[in-house]
C-alpha cells in the first residue's frame, strides 16, 4: 500500500471528515489518496484560509482541524494560521508537502524548511523521512494536538515518502508514545485545600475564565461555583465563549477593552480564581497591580503557565473542570458565611447603566456599532456561531454580543489576526451545517481574506457577513487619535472598493443597509433561508471603542465614553476604590 493511502485510511479511522487546503506538486500523492476517500476536501483560495478554516472547525468540534498545503509558498502561507492557533490553544494538524528527499537541502523549486519556520510556535513538527512511520507520526501529531493544552502540530511530507509502498496497512505500528499524550494529572489535594481555605476567607471572589475552560467543558462547574460563592464571573477574550453570559453572575469580558463592571469587579475583589488563562497583559493589565490587594489562585492544564506572568498564591496544574469539581466538593464540607450577593448585583447595575448610557446616545453621521451588535444578537438564534475579524468591530462584539451558549464565539484573541473571521466562519459552518454562522468583520479585516467568499459559494457554506464599514483601520486610527496626537498616518482607506459588487463577483449577495431596521430585515431573511450574504453597514470612522484601558495601565485607569463617568457617580455606588 502507498504510504499516503495508509495515511488517509488512518485519518478516516480517527474520524477526520474534512480537510481544507490547496494541492501542489509536493502533496499530489496525498490528494490522489483523498480522491478515493470519504474525507471531504475543500479547495480554499489561499492556504491562510485553509488553516483558519481548520481552526474554526476545530473550535466548534473540539477536535483537530486539518490543513493541507504543498511545499514552499503553500507551506509558508500556513504560518500565520499556525501561530494564531498556538496563541489561542486551538488543536489542528497541518500536513505540508515537501520536495523529494534527494532534493532536500538543494534549494530545489518550492523548497522551504517549514518545520524550522513553524517550530517556535507549534507543539510538534517534524519531517517524516521514513514512509513506514508516516501513519504513526500522524496519529502522534493528531493526539498531541488535542492532549493537555491543545495546539497546532505539523508534519512535513516529502513527495517520495508519500508515494512509497509500505506493505500491508494492518502491519503498521500505530501506538502513540506517552510523550505525545501529556494528560492532565488529578489536582493536588493539598493545594486544593489551600485554595478552598483562601476562598472561604475571601469576601469578594472573581472567577476569571480563560479559553482553557472552554476546551475543558467547565461551564457548569464555573457557574455552580459562582452561585455558591456569589462570585463575579469575568472572562478573557478567548474565555468569552466558555460561559452563558446571560447568567446573573456573569459580567463579561475583562481587560483593555473589557466591560466596565468586569474591570471594577477585579479592582474591588479580594480573590481572583483564574481558570485556563495565561493571564495576558490585555486581560489583567500590569501583573504587579493585579496581584496587589488580592489573592490569586491559578488553575491551568499547562503547568508552565502558572507563575509565568503572575506568581499566584496557589497554583494548581490541572484540567479546569476536574479541579473545579474537586474544589466544589471540598467547599461543600466547609462552613463559611455566605458572600454578599449585593456585590455582583451592584456591578450588574453599573453594567446596565453603562449599556443604557451607550444605547441612549444619538447616532453620529452613521449607525452606531454597539447598536448594530445588539441588532445582530437580537436576531440570531441562541445556538448561532459568531466569528470576528480583528479590530474595533471585534472589541464591540466582545463588549456587547452576549454569548448564550458555550462555543458560539470564535475570535483571534492572542495573535489578533486580521482576516481571521471569514475563513474561520467557513470552517465553523463546515463543522455545524445546521447552525447559523455569522462573521462580524471590519472593512480592513474583511478585505484581507474576502476571496474565501468564492469557497463559501462553491462548497455551500452559507455564512452571513456583517461588515462594520468605516473605511479605516479603525483600531489603529483610535490609537493614533488617543496616543499620537491625531497624526493619522495610513489608516484612512480612501479607495472606492465596492463591497457589494465584490461580494456579487464571488456569487454572494451583497446588500448595503443604512438603518437598524434594514439590517434587521436582511438578517431575518438570511437566517430564515440559511444563505450567504455580505451586509455592508456604514459606521463613523471617528467612533471609538470604550471602555479602554491605555496600554500598560491598570484597570482603574480606564477611559470611559465622554459623559459616562459622572453618570456612574450619580447613579451607582461604585465599588471601585
Amino acid at each position: 500500500m502507498k504510504a499516503s493511502d495508509a495515511l488517509v485510511r488512518k485519518m478516516e479511522d480517527l474520524g477526520v471528515e474534512i480537510v481544507f487546503g490547496i494541492p501542489g506538486g509536493a502533496n499530489l500523492p496525498l490528494y490522489d489518496s483523498l480522491y478515493d476517500s470519504n474525507i471531504r476536501s475543500v479547495l480554499t483560495k489561499h492556504e491562510q484560509h485553509a488553516v483558519h478554516a481548520a481552526e474554526g472547525y476545530a473550535r466548534v468540534k473540539k477536535r483537530p482541524g486539518i490543513a493541507l498545503a504543498t511545499s514552499g509558498p503553500g507551506a509558508t502561507n500556513l504560518v500565520t494560521g499556525l501561530v494564531n492557533a498556538a496563541m489561542d490553544s486551538a488543536p489542528l494538524v497541518a500536513l505540508t508537502g515537501q520536495v523529494v528527499r534527494s532534493f532536500m537541502g538543494t534549494d530545489a523549486f518550492q523548497e522551504a524548511d517549514i518545520v524550522d519556520v513553524a517550530l517556535p510556535h507549534v507543539k510538534y513538527a517534524t519531517v517524516v523521512l521514513d514512509s513506514s512511520k508516516l501513519v504513526k507520526e500522524f496519529v502522534s501529531a493528531y493526539k498531541c494536538a488535542m492532549s493537555g493544552r491543545p495546539g497546532p502540530t505539523l508534519l512535513d511530507l516529502p513527495r517520495d515518502v508519500q508515494q512509497e509502498d509500505i506493505g500491508e496497512f494492518e502491519g503498521i505500528d500505530e501506538t502513540v508514545e506517552p510523550r505525545f499524550l501529556k494528560q492532565s494529572l488529578p489536582p493536588d489535594e493539598i493545594l486544593l485545600e489551600k485554595a478552598a481555605e483562601f476562598i472561604v476567607e475571601a469576601k469578594r471572589v472573581c472567577i476569571l475564565v480563560g479559553g482553557g475552560a472552554y476546551y475543558s467543558d467547565a461551564s457548569k462547574e464555573i457557574l455552580k461555583l459562582a452561585e455558591i460563592l456569589n462570585a463575579a464571573v469575568i472572562t478573557t477574550t478567548p474565555g468569552k465563549t466558555a460561559v452563558d453570559e446571560s447568567h446573573p453572575n456573569v459580567l463579561g469580558v475583562v481587560g483593555m477593552h473589557g466591560r466596565f463592571e468586569s474591570n471594577l469587579a477585579v479592582i474591588d475583589s479580594d480573590l481572583v480564581l483564574c481558570l485556563g488563562t495565561r493571564l495576558s497583559d490585555r486581560a489583567i493589565g500590569p501583573p504587579s497591580e493585579f496581584k496587589k490587594s488580592r489573592r490569586i489562585i491559578h488553575i491551568d492544564v499547562d503547568a508552565s503557565e502558572i507563575g509565568k506572568n503572575v506568581i499566584p498564591d496557589v497554583g494548581i496544574s490541572c484540567d479546569a473542570k476536574l479541579a473545579l469539581s474537586r474544589l466544589i466538593d471540598i467547599l461543600s464540607t466547609k462552613r463559611f458565611s455566605p458572600k454578599d450577593p449585593g456585590w455582583v448585583l451592584g456591578l450588574k447595575e453599573i453594567g446596565r447603566s453603562f449599556d443604557e448610557y451607550m444605547f441612549g446616545q444619538a447616532d453620529r453621521s452613521r449607525l452606531s456599532s454597539w447598536k448594530i451588535v445588539k441588532v445582530i444578537r437580537d436576531e440570531l438564534p441562541r445556538s448561532a456561531i459568531v466569528t470576528t475579524g480583528v479590530g474595533q468591530h471585534q472589541m464591540w462584539a466582545q463588549l456587547y454580543f452576549k454569548v448564550l451558549e458555550p462555543g458560539t464565539f470564535i475570535t483571534s484573541a492572542g495573535l489578533g489576526t486580521m482576516g481571521f473571521g471569514l475563513p474561520a466562519a467557513m470552517g465553523a459552518k463546515a463543522a455545524a451545517p445546521d447552525r447559523i454562522v455569522l462573521n462580524m468583520d471590519g472593512d480592513g479585516s474583511f478585505l484581507m481574506t474576502c476571496q474565501a467568499l468564492g469557497t463559501i459559494v462553491e462548497y455551500d457554506f452559507p455564512v452571513i457577513t456583517v461588515v462594520f464599514d468605516n473605511r479605516a483601520l479603525g483600531m489603529v486610527r483610535q490609537w493614533q487619535d488617543l496616543f499620537y496626537k491625531k497624526r493619522f498616518k495610513d489608516v484612512d482607506i480612501e479607495d472606492r472598493t465596492n463591497l457589494i459588487k465584490l461580494a456579487e463577483a464571488f456569487g454572494v449577495e451583497g446588500l448595503f443597509v443604512n438603518s437598524y431596521e434594514e439590517l434587521r430585515i436582511a438578517l431575518r431573511r438570511a437566517i430564515r433561508n440559511d444563505e450567504a450574504i455580505v451586509i455592508d453597514v456604514p459606521i463613523d470612522k471617528d467612533e471609538k471603542v470604550f471602555p479602554m484601558v491605555p496600554p500598560g495601565k491598570w484597570l482603574a485607569d480606564v477611559i470611559l465614553p465622554p459623559g459616562f463617568s459622572n453618570n456612574v457617580e450619580e447613579t451607582a455606588s461604585s465599588p471601585a476604590k
Binding site: 517550530l119 510538534y124 517534524t126 502522534s140 493537555g148 510523550r179 499547562d302 503547568a303 508552565s304
Partner: protein
Amino acid sequence: MLRKRLVVQLSESYESVMKLLLLAKQGRLTLKEASLKANDGVIIADLVFEGPPEKIQWFMLKTSGSPYVLECKKIE
C-alpha cells in the same frame, strides 16, 4: 540570577534539540554551557543556563510538557 545545570533527555531528532534551544531563548535564559550526546534513539542534552529563578522554573515546566522531551532534571 541563578546558574543551573539541567540534563534533558530528548527524542533523537534535530527538531528536539532546536525546540529545546528555542524554548530557552523564549524564556530569555543565557546558555553558558552545552553538550549533546546521541545514544540509542535518545539525545542527552547537558546544559548550563543563567537566568531569573522563575524563568528557569518556567523552562523546566515547559520542556517537561513538550512531546520532544522524555525527561528534564535539575542537577545543581
